[in-house]
């Protein structure tokens, strides 16, 4: 699955997701990726987030919406992503997934659970090409 966020020179944002879902799923099963607020979400006045992982769990928590709302409340992208994941892990301790978030001013962060680390890639004028970063999972 890919979840992506773009923010332009005016601070306008967009998000997108694309996936072929879980292998060997029951025919007709849909994960969280196409669900607005779960797979991804953007509020142009606040920021944007997108997630990846176990869509059968993720869709119950609208974690991308939650992350954006936490940024509205003053959390950084990393703090907001971690907060959204902790709400999931409290109910599903074996959950595997990650969230990437960008605030309105272009700050970004990520959080993950169920992996050793989570890698994501980004590009900006400050980077010389595309960079890959990783975060240690909670």
């Amino acid at each position: 699955t890919i979840g992506m966020i773009a923010i332009n020179s005016d601070g306008d944002m967009a998000v997108g997701t694309s996936t072929n879902g879980a292998a060997h799923k029951i025919a007709g099963r849909v994960g969280d990726s196409p669900l607005i607020g779960s797979g991804a979400y953007v509020d142009n006045e606040v920021g944007a987030a997108c997630g990846t992982g176990d869509g059968d769990v993720l869709m119950k928590f609208l974690p991308s919406y939650q992350t954006v709302e936490s940024m509205r409340g003053g959390k950084s992208p990393s703090e907001a992503s971690e907060d959204a994941l902790r709400r999931i892990v409290n109910k599903y301790p074996k959950f595997m997934g990650a969230i990437v978030a960008v605030s309105k001013n272009g700050d970004y962060g990520a959080a993950c659970h169920g992996l050793d680390e989570f890698k994501f890639s980004y590009g900006s004028r400050k980077t010389n090409g595309i960079n890959v970063e990783s975060v240690k999972c909670i």
């Binding site: 773009a6 879902g21 292998a23 997108c50 890639s121």
Partner: protein
């Protein structure tokens, strides 16, 4: 203080990020940047978890889910269970731009895509066929069925429902870096 423009995506899908960044630098259009970036992953079949030829279902078929959302207008479009169309996120954008709806699914989403000019074609690849055959030859493991007979942890279907005997741990141990949303 602003740190934009910027593109960022889950997983180290560098080619997709590169494309999104190129489009953003050229057009300053975040919606097209996201669409084109994710489209690269659909074409490259990133990790086998994006695009055609990956994650076959119980019938061996690959179906696609995608969504796109525009910040300034708060408009969005999505498709799920999309069959026989490779460009899932572009179909999602078509839902956003050419309908008053938000979310289309299944064969009807395919019909819409064809009407919008997208080419209908098989989403099978030798990788997805091979993965499906290995799954069949491994007694259909891993398996997402629960409380059915025959025992889905040992057998393929067809299945019949049985009375749940205990609370179930529905955690998907089958979800990992090669199989996820």
């Amino acid at each position: 203080q602003s740190n934009y423009p910027l593109v960022i995506n889950t997983w180290p899908f560098v080619k997709a990020t590169e494309k999104a960044w190129q489009v953003l630098e050229k057009t300053d259009d975040p919606l097209t940047s996201v669409e084109q970036g994710c489209s690269v992953c659909e074409e490259l079949r990133c990790d086998g978890t994006v695009g055609w030829g990956g994650s076959p279902d119980e019938n061996g078929e690959t179906t696609l889910d995608a969504m796109i959302m525009d910040g300034p207008s708060h408009d969005a479009g999505a498709v799920a269970g999309l069959k026989r169309i490779k460009s899932a996120i572009s179909v999602a954008r078509a839902v956003m731009e050419h309908t008053k709806h938000t979310f289309l699914v299944g064969d009807a989403a395919t019909q819409f895509a064809v009407e919008m000019g997208f080419k209908e074609q098989s989403l099978s690849h030798i990788d997805s066929v091979d993965r499906y055959l290995k799954w069949l030859n491994n007694s259909c493991q891993p398996n997402f069925r629960l409380w059915v007979s025959p025992d889905p942890s040992l057998n393929c279907g067809p299945y019949q429902p049985v009375q749940p005997a205990t609370n179930s741990d529905k955690t998907n141990a089958n979800i990992n870096q090669q199989s996820h949303d």
